[in-house]
C-alpha cells in the first residue's frame, strides 16, 4: 500500500497502534501487565480500547503468552490502588498498616477473579520466570531493558510470540526483529524513537 500523496512514508519500526481495527493478531501473542490492568479496570483511560482488543484476541483463538510476573504485578497493583485511595501521596508509607489489610484483600480477590475469567476465554501460555532468567539477563545487557521488562520480553520471545501488547515504551528498546510492539497511539512516536538504529 502506498502512502497518501504528499505525506512522508511512516516508518513503523515494528510498532503499531492497538486502536487500529485492522491490526493483525499473531498467534501466539504476548500481553504485558500494563495492557491487562487497562483492560480490567473500567476507570483507566484506555479501558475501552484494551477490552475491545481482548475481545478480538478471544475471537481470533490466538494463544496468549504471559510471564508469571503478570499475576504478581496485578496483585501489587490491587494493593497499591487500595493504599493510594486511602492515603493519597503517602500511600507507600502505609504498606504495613493493619487497617488496610481487609480492603486490600477484598480488592485483590476481585482482581484475581477477573483475571482468571479473562484467561478462561483464551488458550494461555504462562512462562515461569525460572525458565527465562538467562535470556532476561541477555536482554538487559544487550539492550538496556529494566529487569522486569526483560523477564516479560524474554518469556514472550522464548514462547515464539511475535508481538507484545503493552502500554509501556520500555519494550521498544528491543530491535523490531525480536519483538513487535503493539501500543496505543499516544506512545507510537516515543516507541519508534526508542528502537535501536541499524537493526530492523
Amino acid at each position: 500500500m502506498s502512502p497518501p500523496g504528499g505525506r512522508r512514508l511512516v516508518v513503523t519500526r515494528g510498532v503499531f497502534a492497538i486502536e487500529d481495527q485492522e491490526l493483525l493478531l499473531p498467534d501466539p501473542i504476548a500481553l504485558d501487565t500494563s495492557f491487562v490492568v487497562e483492560a480490567l479496570l473500567t476507570t483507566q483511560p484506555l479501558h475501552g480500547v484494551c477490552s475491545a482488543l481482548f475481545n478480538r484476541i478471544g475471537e481470533s483463538d490466538a494463544t496468549v503468552v504471559t510471564s508469571d510476573l503478570l499475576a504478581l504485578e496485578l496483585a501489587e497493583s490491587a494493593f497499591a490502588i487500595t493504599l493510594k485511595e486511602r492515603w493519597g501521596g503517602r500511600w507507600r508509607g502505609h504498606r504495613t498498616d493493619g487497617r488496610s489489610r481487609r480492603p486490600v484483600t477484598q480488592r485483590l480477590n476481585h482482581t484475581v477473579t477477573r483475571y482468571e475469567a479473562l484467561l478462561s476465554s483464551v488458550t494461555h501460555l504462562p512462562i515461569p520466570v525460572r525458565r527465562i532468567i538467562t535470556e532476561a539477563r541477555v536482554l538487559m545487557s544487550d539492550y538496556g531493558l529494566a529487569s522486569y521488562d526483560a523477564a516479560h520480553a524474554a518469556g514472550a520471545i522464548a514462547a515464539g510470540a511475535k508481538a507484545m501488547i503493552t502500554l509501556d515504551t520500555g519494550f521498544a528498546l528491543l530491535p523490531a526483529s525480536l519483538l513487535t510492539v503493539y501500543t496505543d497511539r499516544s506512545r507510537l512516536a516515543s516507541c519508534r524513537k526508542k528502537r535501536p538504529r541499524g537493526q530492523r
Partner: protein, 61 residues
C-alpha cells in the same frame, strides 16, 4: 538445567522447545464464542479505582 532455553551471545533468544511449550499450555475453559464473550465481559466490567494506575504502582524501574 537441561530443559532451559539457552541465551546466545548475539542477543538472540533461543525458543523453548515444542515439548516445553506443550507442558506449559493451559487450554481455554470457554469453548464457544458466546462463552468467551461472556467471560471477557465478566472480567472487564465492574472493577473500578478512584486513582489512576501507573506503572510505578506495580513494577520497579
Amino acid at each position: 538445567m537441561a530443559s532451559m532455553a539457552k541465551a546466545q551471545s548475539n542477543g538472540k533468544i533461543k525458543r523453548l522447545s515444542s515439548e516445553e511449550l506443550a507442558e506449559l499450555l493451559v487450554p481455554a475453559v470457554c469453548k464457544t464464542p458466546a462463552e468467551k464473550r461472556a467471560a471477557i465481559k465478566r472480567a472487564t466490567t465492574g472493577l473500578r479505582a478512584n486513582v489512576r494506575v501507573t506503572r510505578d504502582m506495580y513494577r520497579p524501574r
